[in-house]
């Protein structure tokens, strides 16, 4: 039953249960996809590092930072949008949108997120740039690491780690700026007057950025990230993946041998087995082995292979965004085309449009005041001495303006109701509640009727009216009673 062990005594890779980290030395590369990745890197990091400094005038008494998460005041500001804790469902909507966009990207072209947009990829690219600038390209780094540590090399390595730590520090620094007024906080940080929590968070993010982008790199994608596992289950055979077109590439052989083989009338593939695709790969995989968990589909091997193909005057895109189905079709002598419009992509696009439209509509339709009501549950109602019925409610009024306002409360849906806000100062017989600027106010409202309603539960509407400009907000609840119809 057991096949005799065919283990090469020199190969100890299968002997241990723990794998020693094999350092990867990605080589620099030029081409279309590298250029796209640089642009994405500049745009995304630019947005991340500089957004906290954008100002946005919201009038007196309100913060003028365009994007601000104000935890003590429990507000989230995004340009013209101000989100209250009661509206946290916008965050849920945003997360649903993000997930759907991720699924759509995955259905169209596999791990686009991993290869171009993931912070791990973007920061690793930036750290690799620093590494190449201080220690040289792949060959030089491999040569240096294999040799002795000379003072000159030590200086270059020290410079690299210093630059890495500075980048990581600024990454953490930008993070905390989203939670406080950025110019003030920068000043306080520089003069060592910022709160301890700011330094702590900068420290944590400096450490994680330095460790993840400088040292962990592809280990994060291989061992720590859940997305590759989920992605594999969500994708289908029509999604465009970075694919080695083996129908064109095999049998691989050097250019000289290929010329000879073709002269003899034997088949020869376009792949010259130069290993450039492996050398540039940030995760160290060989794309020619087929779909691979380690492949983040960044397309750098496409650029590397195209460079070689151009030099050999062979057609480019031996490695390209393609599918295994297309390879099979070509091997069978059929023509191929990318199938981007499929039920799956149409479904995701439709869901994105629906969720986005619902969110845009609810954002534009929301009012600048609102009211919530909680009915007293114990007791639901009480009988008054004249046989009337009284219900008590807790009413919370939200004033989303930056100026104080006063609201009048009334109740619709009952016969001869007496509405009383306890501990209020009624003016002209109206129930008036002042609410401070950008605040909520909770009041107890007692509603009494002289005659018990016929039904045990009568729908009522609380109407809250701004006494200055007449803007109203309403909420419905019920008025409970014994329901014996007297």
């Amino acid at each position: 039953m057991t096949v005799p062990a065919q283990i090469d005594p020199a190969d100890d890779s299968g002997q241990s249960f723990y794998e020693k980290h094999k350092k990867i030395y990605p080589q620099s590369v030029h081409g279309t996809f590298r250029r796209i990745k640089w642009i994405v890197l500049i745009v995304t990091l630019g947005i991340y590092y500089f957004t906290p400094f954008i100002r946005w005038d919201r009038g007196p008494g309100a913060p003028d930072q365009a994007v601000l998460i104000d935890l003590p005041a429990r507000r989230f500001y995004f340009f013209f949008i101000e989100i209250w804790p009661q509206e946290i469902y916008y965050l849920t909507g945003l997360l649903i949108l993000a997930a759907l966009v991720l699924f759509l990207m995955n259905a169209v072209a596999g791990r686009v997120w991993c290869g171009y947009l993931c912070p791990q990829t973007v920061w690793t690219d930036l750290f690799l740039l620093i590494e190449r600038w201080t220690e040289g390209d792949r060959r030089e780094r491999m040569h240096n690491d294999a040799g002795k540590l000379t003072p000159q090399l030590a200086a270059r390595k020290t410079l690299k780690h210093f630059l890495w730590l500075m980048t990581a520090w600024w990454t953490g620094g930008a993070w905390v700026l989203y939670f406080s007024d950025a110019p003030t906080l920068v000043h306080d940080l520089a003069t060592l007057q910022a709160p301890f929590i700011a330094y702590l968070w900068i420290g944590i993010l400096t450490f994680t950025t330095y460790a993840l982008a400088g040292h962990m790199r592809e280990q994060v994608c291989l061992y720590m990230c859940p997305w590759p596992r989920i992605q594999a289950a969500l994708t289908d055979e029509y999604a465009l993946n970075v694919t080695y077109r083996l129908d064109r590439g095999e049998p691989r052989m050097s250019a000289k041998k290929a010329t000879a083989a073709l002269a003899r009338g034997e088949p020869a593939g376009d792949c010259v087995d130069c290993h450039q695709c492996v050398a540039v790969c940030p995760t160290g995989v060989d794309i020619r082995e087929g779909p691979n968990l380690g492949c983040i589909q960044c397309g750098l091997c496409i650029d590397a292979c195209d460079t070689v193909m151009e030099r050999l005057d062979r057609p480019t895109r031996l490695i390209a965004y393609d599918t295994d189905i297309n390879i099979g079709e070509r091997l069978a002598g059929k023509s191929t085309m990318a199938r981007i419009v499929r039920p799956r992509t149409l479904l995701y696009s439709a869901l994105i449009l629906i969720v986005g439209a619902v969110m845009a509509w609810s954002l534009s339709a929301r009012s600048i005041s609102s009211v919530n009501v909680i009915h007293d549950r114990n007791p639901e109602y009480v009988v008054l001495s004249d046989g009337g019925i009284r219900n008590a409610y807790t009413v919370r009024i939200l004033n989303k303006r930056t100026t104080p306002r006063t609201f009048a409360i009334s109740v619709d849906g009952l016969t001869d109701p007496v509405v009383e806000v306890t501990a209020a100062n009624p003016a002209d017989g109206e129930q008036i509640v002042p609410v401070g600027a950008d605040q909520t106010r909770e009041v107890r409202v007692i509603v009494s009727v002289p005659e018990p309603p016929a039904a045990a539960s009568v729908p009522v509407t609380f109407v809250v009216t701004d006494t200055a400009d007449g803007e109203t907000a309403t909420v419905t609840d019920n008025f409970r009673g014994p329901g014996d119809g007297t």
Binding site: M1, T2, V3, P4, A5, Q6, I7, S13, G14, Q15, S16, F17, Y18, E19, K20, H21, Q219, L222, Y223, D376, R377, N378, P379, V382, V383, L384, S385, D386, G387, R390, A392, E420, T422, A423, A424, N425, P434, G436, R441, E442, R444, I446
Partner: protein, 294 residues
């Protein structure tokens, strides 16, 4: 075959991976090695757990446990949090102490604080009898309605809370209804007649055979001194209004006969003896606001 055997690793021809050499009844395991740094993190966690033993309370001794090097424990943490709370709300408590109860509603911040503070004190001390929402139950007055045995003004409510009802405190609210039946003051038939008469005062159904004239005579002689000629009660004496729709002990004929026969005379503690004056003030404000008082 044994349960588990250790063989030499071999190459699996299907996957191209080597096996671990572990063999359970013919089931083998492919070796996908973990990264070694993962193993080091595991060792680091073990090392940290040893450090943890010394920093925090860990080892049980006979009567206590090791204290830990930094002296942290959950009991002192609670004490610190309580102390921090008292420091934190101290200024508001002081403001409540020095503010007249009638002036609280003019200070929105103090109003919100008093309401919250009173609500907590109510749930801790009053809710067992009067209900979490102040709705009461049979024998325990409802505090949301408009009927007050001892007066529903803010001062009256404050006095009732501070000194209680029918207890040993010298300033307690006090009155006692006689147990007319048990003590032989009225016969069973007389009790039934007076109960029918009282029901007629409250416009509750009465049997057509009832002798209301006899009931009225008994009422005028034995009840009117406290409950009033017209049965409207007297808040000075804590005598309930008998003409309204609210019946603390029930409005069934049987309940009312039981009340007249044995009397009720329930009591309430003097909360001023147990709680500080500021808490009593907050409770007074809170209870007055439950239904708006009188």
């Amino acid at each position: 075959m044994a349960d588990s055997e250790h063989n030499e690793p071999r190459l699996d021809p299907v996957t191209g991976y080597k096996t671990t050499g572990h063999d359970w009844d013919g089931i083998e395991e492919l070796n996908h090695p973990l990264p070694r740094w993962w193993l080091w993190i595991f060792y680091a966690c073990i090392a940290w757990s040893v450090v943890y033993w010394f920093i925090f309370p860990a080892w049980p001794l006979v009567w206590s446990a090791t204290g830990g090097l930094i002296g942290w424990n959950s009991r002192t943490a609670v004490d610190q949090e309580v102390a921090a709370l008292e420091t934190n709300r101290g200024p508001m408590i002081d403001r409540l102490t020095s503010t007249e109860i009638a002036a609280i509603k003019d200070d929105p911040e103090l109003l919100d604080f008093t309401r919250a503070y009173g609500s907590i004190a109510f749930k801790e001390n009053c809710a067992p009898c009067h209900g979490a929402g102040g709705g009461g139950s049979k024998g325990y007055p409802n505090l949301i309605d408009d009927d007050w045995l001892w007066g529903g003004s803010i001062d009256n409510i404050g006095h009732t809370i501070a000194y209680g009802v029918r207890n040993d405190n010298a300033d307690s609210r006090y009155s006692e209804m006689p147990a007319f039946g048990r003590d032989g003051l009225l016969s069973g038939a007389e009790i039934r007649e007076v109960v029918y008469y009282v029901r007629s005062l409250a416009e509750l159904p009465v049997p057509s055979s009832a002798d209301l004239t006899a009931g009225a005579e008994i009422y005028a002689r034995d009840c009117a001194s406290c409950h009033g000629e017209a049965g409207t009660g007297d808040q000075e004496l804590g005598a309930p209004n008998l003409t309204d729709a609210i019946w603390l002990y029930g409005s069934d004929t049987a309940d009312m006969i039981a009340t007249v026969t044995n009397a009720r005379n329930s009591s309430m503690p003097a909360w001023g003896e147990r709680l500080d004056p500021t808490t009593v003030k907050a409770l007074t404000f809170y209870v007055h606001n439950l239904g708006g008082g009188d």
